[in-house]
């Protein structure tokens, strides 16, 4: 969008400098946050290296070895987390599911943020009827329970991974739009924005290069709030059988298909349920902490 050489020093790097300075000079990071960061790094590492680290192919079956116990319940080390109803290795499926669920959550969060911020900026720039239209859309979107909308869309258009990610991307876009619009309107009145405008910068440059970096911290916190919601939403829809479909697997899909075996083979659904809970909790904790760190009024 913009080449780096022409960027004015100070504004573009402000977020990172601010973060770094706060990490360096602020209070010690709480233990809980350290754990949360480590967990998320672990999840990311698993998602990136899924093919390398999973002991079996996630669809590989061993029907003569169905529902075998995990190690912590006295099973063998061949299947550390046991096997499922088709004799597939639960650990391998869990690793693939983590990748699938994180991919969906990242993809959807980014789609939501891009749509929301763009519409927010459009509203802030044009004002008038455009702004009213965007705000009407925001209200409309906020008024409809998203799960109902998602069920309707999936029922009508069937299911594919791309459609599913895009659909979840529409979750919470209105929050970004509201934040971006409000902050952009107030940002435009600041001296730096007026100066750039006076120097003849295009709206692209003004919003993309100057206002966005200044409001990014708020948006990032908002993304950390939406991220676990999307993980839970994906899990919920997959649990209901409307999300990720076999032979693909995701955390919610594993829980959904494992529920029949809750009393006879609980390990099939306990592992993915644990990962969903802990990941959602960690992202929320981290987001909460980031908000505190980035809010100048709290320092």
């Amino acid at each position: 969008m913009v080449d780096a050489t022409s960027s004015p020093a100070g504004t573009g790097g402000s977020l990172i400098t601010r973060l770094l300075s706060r990490f360096a000079t602020g209070n010690r990071m709480p233990l809980l946050i350290v754990i949360a960061i480590l967990w998320l790094v672990l999840m990311l590492a698993i998602a990136v290296s899924a093919d390398l680290i999973s002991p079996y192919r996630f669809t590989q079956m061993d029907l003569r070895n169905r529902l075998s116990l995990p190690v912590f319940m006295g099973g063998s080390w061949r299947h550390v987390l046991g096997t499922d109803e088709l004799g597939r290795d639960v650990l391998s499926r869990l690793i693939t599911s983590i990748r699938m669920s994180l991919l969906i959550a990242f993809g959807a969060t980014i789609i939501g943020a891009v749509i929301g911020v763009t519409l927010g900026f459009v509203a802030a720039h044009f004002r008038g009827i455009v702004e009213q239209a965007v705000l009407a859309l925001v209200d409309f979107s906020a008024a409809i329970p998203f799960l109902v909308l998602a069920l309707a869309v999936l029922a009508f258009f069937g299911n594919s991974l791309v459609l599913f990610v895009c659909l979840l991307g529409f979750h919470a876009w209105e929050r970004y739009a509201r934040i971006a619009r409000g902050l952009a309107i107030s940002g435009k009145t600041h001296g730096y924005a007026a100066a750039v405008h006076q120097l003849g910068a295009s709206p692209w440059r003004l919003y993309g290069r100057h206002i966005l970096p200044n409001i990014a911290s708020t948006l990032i916190v908002s993304m950390t709030l939406a991220f676990p919601e999307i993980i839970l939403l994906e899990s919920g829809l997959s649990f209901l059988g409307l999300g990720i479909q076999p032979p693909d697997t995701s955390l919610g899909n594993m829980v959904g298909f494992g529920r029949e075996y809750l009393s006879s083979a609980p390990w099939i659904m306990l592992a993915p349920a644990f990962v969903i809970t802990v990941t959602a909790l960690c992202v929320s904790l981290l987001g909460d902490w980031l908000r505190d760190r980035l809010d100048p009024t709290l320092s």
Binding site: L63, L86, Q245, P246, R259, E260, S264
Partner: protein, 526 residues
């Protein structure tokens, strides 16, 4: 939900004993009879209760409670033909059967059944078209499939009819037991506003009358006390649609249902861990198979289909998913076929190397083949589909598993989008012509929709229907099996289906060797 307590049940059984003694006059006690709720995965695929439009396993489960045919089946016994609305029948010659009708049979609207109603039920207005009202196309197809050489029914008297067939049919009487031959009230049919209005609430003669049908949700039947067998044992039978296995089991456990159908073998131990419940059932007269669309560009090559049939590990499926509780039949045939049972017919063996060789020979290059699967419409369907997909993948076939919601989505789209799907076939009559030619011959739906056709098979199918030479018919049948299962496969047989129903342990009720659920008085005590 049903509010049945032990004390309540005791009083009910006392009341019903009294009812047996004085069948007609005990109606004051009718509110004391129990009501049962049955959790089913689907009530009706077509959202109708008229068996001419609902030819399915799930339709089979419900229709015997509210509708009756001339000749019935001993579903919970030896599957033999039983007098139902007909009291007796007699062959006049090879193409004609005389039937004596039961007297004093009432329809749910109070009308008395006559030979007119029977002739009407098999007549042009309901089945064949060309009468006074329009008949949907699919109804005509289904009727012709079930009664391929039916000519007409002649009314000989108020309670006597004669069935004329246009060709020789060794199992002509048996065909009168088919579900499409449910006897309906002529007056009610003609008064219905449209086919759909009728099909949602047909007026029939069964022991329970339809009181409410909410498609995709619930079917409520109430005792029809004027039934010719006397008062039915239950005040109400309710079928509640609950697609998820876990939810059906939970409904049973929580007391919301007295029966939960289609329990996968894996869950039997879980259900029975609670002493209040018992799982009954076993193998039934239904074969589970997976069918191919020959008009799909890749599947057009028989070698690819042969490779598919050689990479299905039936025995492992039966052993693992079904805990060995069902069996692998020798193709789409039944031992009750008698002389027509080809005892040395073999299914294509599980042989991945042979499958790979066939694919090489076919020049298959990993072109995708779609495989549409409903989520557990058939017991353990999703698991079975994943096992087969994995075995197919192992021999180099690129099968794209697509989970779909309903039967409409399975037949949707052009031939290149429809590859493989799951199906089943039921049989109750001892002649291969009924099942095989009905399903796969020129009158069957795969033939009509161009899913699978084979000229030689088509000719043989007709010959099987018209020939009277038994030796020749056996030879024809042997050749047909060879074509449709080995040379130019239309499907691959997986296993004999089994139906397991979880129920309250205190209910004495016997499951049928079919999907039929029998709630008549001879099959109920609690």
């Amino acid at each position: 939900m049903t509010g049945i307590t032990r004390r309540h049940l005791l009083s009910v059984s006392a009341a019903s004993t009294a009812a047996f003694a004085m069948p007609r006059f005990a109606s004051a006690q009718s509110t004391e009879r129990p009501a049962v709720t049955v959790a089913v995965q689907r009530i009706s695929n077509s959202n109708t209760l008229e068996m001419l439009t609902e030819q399915s396993n799930v339709g089979t489960r419900i229709y015997t409670s509210y509708a009756e045919t001339l000749i019935g089946n001993n579903w919970i016994g030896d599957m033999s033909l039983q007098p139902q609305l007909a009291t007796s029948w007699k062959r006049v010659d090879d193409q004609t059967v005389d039937v004596d009708l039961r007297e004093g049979v009432k329809f749910h609207n109070g009308d008395v059944m006559t030979a007119e109603d029977v002739a009407f039920s098999y007549g042009p207005d309901r089945m064949w078209g060309g009468g006074t009202v329009e008949v949907p196309e699919n109804v005509k197809v289904v009727a012709r499939q079930a009664l391929p050489a039916f000519e007409r029914i002649e009314v000989l008297g108020p309670h006597k009819i004669r069935l004329h067939n246009s060709s020789i049919d060794p199992v002509l009487e048996g065909r009168l037991s088919g579900s499409i031959g449910m006897i309906v009230s002529k007056r009610a049919f003609m008064e219905a506003k449209s086919w759909m209005d009728w099909a949602r609430r047909p007026i029939t003669t069964g022991p329970y009358a339809i009181t409410e049908y909410k498609p995709d949700s619930v079917l409520t039947l109430s005792a029809f006390d004027d039934h010719w067998e006397g008062r039915p044992p239950l005040r109400q039978v309710r079928f509640v649609e609950t697609p998820e296995t876990a939810s059906r089991i939970n409904l049973l456990r929580s007391g919301g249902a007295d029966f939960a159908c289609d329990i996968p073998p894996d869950q039997i131990a879980t259900v029975e861990a609670d002493k209040r419940f018992k799982v009954v059932g076993g193998p039934i007269n239904n074969t589970r198979y997976t069918v191919f669309n020959k008009s799909h560009p890749v599947l057009a090559n028989p070698l690819v289909r042969q490779a598919l049939t050689h990479s299905v590990d039936r025995n492992l499926i039966v052993e693992s998913l079904w805990s060995g509780r069902t069996e692998v039949p020798r193709g789409l045939q039944w031992s009750f076929y008698g002389d027509f049972y080809i005892a040395d017919h073999e299914n294509p063996a599980y042989d991945p190397d042979k499958a790979r060789a066939l694919l090489r020979k076919a020049g298959y290059n990993g072109e995708p083949i779609p495989y549409r699967v409903l989520n557990d419409y058939y017991t353990a369907q999703t698991a079975t589909a994943q096992i087969n997909t994995e075995n197919w993948r192992a021999v180099g076939l690129n099968i794209k598993l697509q989970m779909v919601e309903n039967w409409g989505q399975i037949s949707e789209g052009g031939p290149e989008t429809r590859g493989i799907h799951d199906w089943s076939a039921a049989a109750s009559l001892p002649d291969p012509y009924v099942q095989m030619s009905g399903s796969w011959g020129p009158l069957g739906s795969p033939w009509k929709s161009n899913q699978w056709r084979n000229e030689e098979f088509g000719k043989l199918s007709q010959e099987l229907g018209s020939s009277t030479d038994k030796t020749r018919r056996i030879a024809v049948w042997r050749r047909m099996l060879q074509i449709i299962e080995i040379e130019d496969p239309a499907y691959v047989v997986l296993h004999r289906n089994a139906s397991f129903t979880a129920k309250r342990a205190d209910i004495k009720w016997t499951p049928a060797q079919s999907f039929v659920m029998d709630f008549r008085r001879h099959n109920w005590s609690a």
